[in-house]
Amino acid sequence: MYLRPATALPRQLTTNWSHHRRPVGCGMVARSPADDVEETLARWLGPNTARNAVRVFSERSLKKPPGALTAADLPELLRALQPMLRTLVGTEQSNEILAQLERRIGP
């Protein structure tokens, strides 16, 4: 779990990502693994589609909102995202992106 001061964030950042962040006390917000997945996917898919994809696949496959995901949920989420990524960026690049995400956030 990554912590950063909520008060230090500019308004537009907290607005865009608010549905993924949970206050954890001491003026800090929790950064869900879904945020990292979303941030990485946004490089290829753009912010809107990346956010929608993470939301839809986490609700459909894990029956959880993105903000409630933990590092242990990540493999399941990545498996759910794989067909979409494979179609859009190809098999090799999608494997690469998912492997990087696993290395970056995995438990």
């Binding site: 979409m84 859009l88 960026v89 190809g90 690049q93 970056r104």
Partner: protein
Amino acid sequence: MNVFRLALLPLVGMVGFLVAAWLLPEAWGGAALFFWAAVATRSLAAGGEFLAGSCFRFGDLLRWGWWFWAFGDACLVLRTGIEGPTHFVLTTPGHLHLSILLLVLANLAAVLGALFMARVWFASGLARAFDSWRQIAWSAVVSTLALLAVAPLLARSARATLAGDSSFVLPLLSASSDLASLLLVSPMLLLALSVRGGRLAWSWGLVVVSFVGWMFVDLAQGYGPGFLSARIGQVLENAFAVFASLAIFAAGLAQRWAVSPAPGATRGRD
């Protein structure tokens, strides 16, 4: 790669073509310019499409979409090459048959390529996340524009073919293929809109821009004879073809760039 500069290439190429057509004397600025511009830009388009398809594996839809387009453009380059600037070989039966075969193959490949590319929108699952009314609205707009662009050409060649003039069979085939390809643009446009802000937006955006260029070629062919002199009509038609070919070349390079590893993607835990 500076993808923004790459995206400007079609516009720069079209302006360059128009300036050359305007400044060069008739001997160079007419059929010879049209011929060399078509050979050069179509070759670039085929190369860009081939490179884009090479980024993907055999099982990936995008490989087949790009490679069908590359094959179609390669057929057109070959056809333009054997016909020459003055289409003199069309008087030889062997060359004529080869030219017809290449045109049929190019049209078939263009439609198959567009089918594969349009299929990406549905296979990715993005279609389910996009508002269905907006999808219908965009599809209606694109279909109307495609019909408006191709209708005069299609009607003229269909009328002549039905009246027994076999020389209009090939224009009828080309117009039908153009219409089929243009009707398949809406899934590509929706995909380009969905991924805006991401790397993939450049390649899909440029693919759509290329189709817009071809739509203008059809408009110039269909409506030009009624409004423009023959020379201006030809220059405009070829200028839009240069624009469309360079746009698909740029789209191919942008696709390669988009699916290459992003800088910073390998960084470790934040």
